[in-house]
Symmetry: C2
Subunit: 443 residues, 2 copies
C-alpha cells in the first residue's frame, strides 16, 4: 500500500538556490519565455513563477542546438551548470549553461499577442480578450501579484488585531443598500439578488465576534461603462464593535495601510521594482471635515455647483492639497452630509445634518467609504421611516439591533481600485484579472 | 488639523491580560451574556470575542446592584478588581469584582431563542431562521471560528509552498463543467452563469504563476434537498504546475491537512476544547486504487450493483477499513474510471479506462476530488470530441493548451463539508453560517 507523506521530492531547484550552487550542475523547470538566437549560440529566457532566468544554449555545452521542440511557451526541464555573471549595475546575477533540455509540453500555436517583450503593446481590449496568454507577461502578472500582497496585508494585519475572517452569502434575499443596481437571479423560481456588499451580514456578526472582515466578490449592476467601475469586484470589508469613536475605524484603516505598504516593499519587492511603483510612505494621515474641505474647493476651484458631494476634480485638488500641506498621499474627509450616506450611517449627535462617516482619498481619488453605524433599534427604525423605507422588509437585518448590538462601524475598500491607483492606471480594467463590465463577461 | 496615527488607545484590557493585573482595577468591554441572580449577589457572564468572563456583582463591591439597564445582550463596559479564583480542575481562572457597569447599548427585546445556555436547544430550522442571534451562542460561533482556522491553514500552508492567491470571476460566460446545475443570471439582457467552480480559470493561471489557489464562493443549482448539499458554498481550490506525477497533488494536500490540523490544535484550542473536537492525527495517508477498493467493498458488503462509483455505505466501509488497517482517518482512492470524471481529467497512459485522479475520504466521506489535468491541446480537443462536446464553445479555455501549459493538476475542497465532518455533524447546514438551499435564502 502506497503511503502519501506530504513531502514532494523536487528534482529541480528554484532560482533563489542558484547562489548556493555556483559551479554545480542543477535542473530547473519553467516556461521557455523568449529565445534570442545569436547565430552561434542562443539565450533562452526561462520564466518561473516570479523570475526570468537567463540560460545560455551553445554547442560548447550541449548537443541540442537546433531542437525544433525548443520553442517559446513550451514547458521545459533544463539541466546545466550554474555560473555567476555580472550585470551592468554590478549586482549579482546567475545564469545556466544548458547541458540538456527536456520538453515537458509544447504549444500548438504562436500567441496572438507578443508576450515575451518587456510589456504588452496592444489595445486594452485585445489584452483582455487574450487574458490567459497576456497574463503570462511578467509585467502583467506582477500587477496581480501586488494585488495578492494588498489583500494579504489587509488580512494579516486585521488577524493580528483580533478580527475573525468570515464568508457571508452572495445570494441574498434582498439588496443590502436599497434595491437599485442589483443583479437579479432566478433561484428555483424565486427572485433573489447577488450581494452588492456584505454590509448587513458583517454588522450582524459584530455581536458574535466583535471584529470581522471579509475579502470576497460583490456584484453591482451599474449600467454605465466608465474607466473606474466594474460590475464584479473584490471588496475588502471590515466591521468592528465596541468602538469609542468613529476615529477608531480610521485608525484601524491607517494601521492596515501602513502594514500593506510595508509588506509590498519587503515581500513584493521584485514586482514593485519591475513596475516602478512608488509605494506611499505613511506616517499619520490628515483628517478634514467635509464642510471645511468643500470651503477649500470653493475658494480654489471654479464652477462648483454641487455643495453636497465632491466632483472628481475636487477630490483631485484635495489630494494635491494634502500632499503639499502634510506631505501625505492620503486624506480622510469626515462628516459627510446625512442625506448622502446610506440608511445605516450614524448621524452626528452634535449635528444630525452630518454623519460620523468618512471617505479616504488616495492621491486624490476615493478608495474607501466608512463610518459608524446606527446600533440602537429605535434610532434605526426611525431613520428608515424618515427615508421612506419599510422597516418590516428589513426584519432580519434589524434582529441585530433588536437583540442588542454594541457601538460599531467599519468600511469597504475595493481591491481593484486600490491596485489601480497604487499602480497609476487610468482604467480599473488594467487592475482586474478578468474584468466584468457591461460589455464584457469573457474570458 | 487632526492626524490619524493608526493606533487605537484602548481603555479596556482583554481577558488574556487578567493574569498580569491581579489585584488591580481594570475595565473590560463585552456583551452581557448571562445573569445568574443569587439573591444577595449575582454572577454576570460577559461575552467577548472568544471568551466568557465571570464577573461578580455584589453590594459588597458596588452600588449598582439593581440597575434595570443591566440586561442580557446589553453591550457594556465593566470596571472592577481582578481576582484569581480556583476552578474544580485546579486550572487558573480570573474573575472581575464589579465596581461599575456602563451600559453602551441595550436590546429592546429578549432573543426568540435562548442563547445563554451551553448550547442552542431548538430545531435546526429555528436556529437558522434566527442566525444573527443564535450565532452569539459560544458553541455556535466556535464552529465558524474553527472554519476560519481551516481556510486560514489552507492559505498559510500554500503560501509557504510558493502559491499565489487569486480571485477569479464568479460571473461566467459558460458553465465550467458542462451546462447542468448552473444558476442563470440576467446580465444586461445577456444570459450568463454563476461559477460552479474556478476550474477553468485556475488552470489558465498555471502558466502564469505555476501554483495558484483560491478560497471563494461557488454556486450549484442542485435541485435536491439533502443533508450534504448547499447551493452556495466556499470552495478551497488549488492548482499546481510542473508536477512530476499526480502523486505531487496528493502530497500537497497531505501537507495542507497536516498544517491545518496542527493550527487548529494550537491557535484554535479554546474552540476545539469547547466543541470537544477530536482533531485527526496525520502521519502518512494510505492510498488505494479504485479497482482494489471496489473489490474490498464487493467482498465485504452485499447488494453492490454500481461498479463504476461508490455508494455512501461503501465510502463509510472504506473509511473504517483505513482506520483499522492503517490507523488513518484519511484514505486516498485513486484511478477512478475515465467515464466518471470530468473532461479535463488526464487518462492514465498505461490504462486509458482509468484516470490520474483521486478522491480523499475523511472518516469515510469524500471531501476532495482532484487529479492531473490534460495539458496537451490535441489530447484535450480529442477528448472533448469523444465526449460529444464542441471544442469551439471552449475556445477561451483551450487558449491554455493551445499556447502551452505545463503538466499540472489540482483539487477542490468544500469548506463547509470539511468543517461538518471534522465536527461530526449530520447536516452540512450546521457548518454553514448562512446556508443557502433550495428552500432557504434568508437570513
Amino acid at each position: 500500500m502506497e503511503q502519501i507523506s506530504g513531502v514532494i521530492n523536487e528534482s529541480c531547484i528554484p532560482y533563489s538556490e542558484f547562489k548556493n550552487n555556483v559551479g554545480k550542475v542543477v535542473s530547473i523547470k519553467g516556461a521557455i519565455h523568449n529565445i534570442r538566437d545569436m547565430s552561434d549560440f542562443a539565450f533562452i529566457i526561462v520564466r518561473t513563477a516570479r523570475e526570468l532566468i537567463q540560460c545560455v544554449y551553445s554547442p560548447e555545452f550541449s548537443e541540442y542546438r537546433k531542437d525544433e521542440n525548443v520553442v517559446e511557451q513550451a514547458a521545459a526541464k533544463l539541466t546545466g551548470l550554474v555560473v555567476k555573471s555580472e550585470t551592468r549595475d554590478g549586482s549579482e546575477r546567475y545564469e545556466l549553461q544548458i547541458h540538456n533540455i527536456e520538453i515537458l509540453s509544447k504549444p500548438v500555436a504562436i500567441p496572438p499577442v507578443v508576450i515575451s517583450k518587456k510589456q504588452i503593446n496592444c489595445d486594452l481590449s485585445v489584452n483582455l480578450d487574450n487574458r490567459p496568454v497576456t497574463l503570462r507577461n511578467p509585467k502583467e502578472r506582477a500587477i496581480f501579484k501586488i494585488q495578492e500582497g494588498i489583500q494579504r496585508g489587509f488580512r494579516e494585519y486585521l488577524t493580528t488585531q483580533g478580527f475573525t475572517e468570515v464568508h457571508t452569502p452572495k445570494i441574498n434575499f434582498a439588496g443590502a443598500e436599497g434595491g437599485t443596481n442589483v443583479f437579479n437571479l432566478d433561484y428555483f423560481g424565486k427572485k433573489v439578488y447577488l450581494a452588492q456588499s456584505p454590509q448587513l451580514y458583517k454588522q450582524a456578526l459584530v455581536p458574535v465576534y466583535e471584529r470581522v472582515f471579509e475579502i470576497a466578490p460583490v456584484f453591482r449592476a451599474e449600467h454605465h461603462d466608465t474607466s473606474r467601475h466594474l460590475n464584479e469586484y473584490i471588496s475588502m470589508d471590515f466591521e468592528m464593535g465596541y468602538i469609542e469613536s468613529f476615529t477608531d475605524i480610521m485608525n484601524m484603516e491607517t494601521g492596515v495601510l501602513k502594514y500593506i505598504m510595508n509588506l509590498l516593499k519587503t515581500e513584493y519587492a521584485p514586482e514593485i521594482d519591475l513596475l516602478k511603483v512608488v509605494v506611499p510612505e505613511i506616517d499619520t494621515i490628515p483628517c478634514i471635515r467635509f464642510k471645511d474641505a468643500k470651503e477649500l474647493c470653493v475658494k480654489k476651484l471654479k464652477n462648483i455647483t454641487d455643495m453636497k458631494d465632491f466632483e472628481p476634480e475636487e477630490e483631485a485638488f484635495l489630494g494635491k492639497w494634502a500632499k503639499q500641506q502634510y506631505n501625505s498621499d492620503f486624506l480622510f474627509v469626515t462628516h459627510y452630509l446625512s442625506k448622502k450616506r446610506p440608511f445605516y450611517t450614524m448621524d452626528d449627535p452634535e449635528d444630525p445634518e452630518v454623519t460620523l462617516s468618512f471617505d479616504l482619498l488616495f492621491r486624490g481619488i476615493e478608495i474607501t467609504s466608512g463610518g459608524q453605524r446606527v446600533h440602537d433599534y429605535d434610532m434605526q427604525v426611525e431613520k428608515m421611516k424618515k427615508l421612506g423605507m419599510n422597516p418590516e422588509e428589513f426584519e432580519t437585518y434589524l434582529m441585530l439591533h433588536k437583540y442588542g448590538a454594541p457601538p460599531h462601524g467599519g468600511l469597504g475598500l475595493g481591491l481593484e481600485r486600490l491596485t489601480m491607483h497604487l499602480l497609476g492606471f487610468k482604467n480599473v480594467r488594467n487592475a482586474a484579472m478578468f474584468p466584468r463590465d457591461i460589455n464584457r463577461v469573457s474570458p
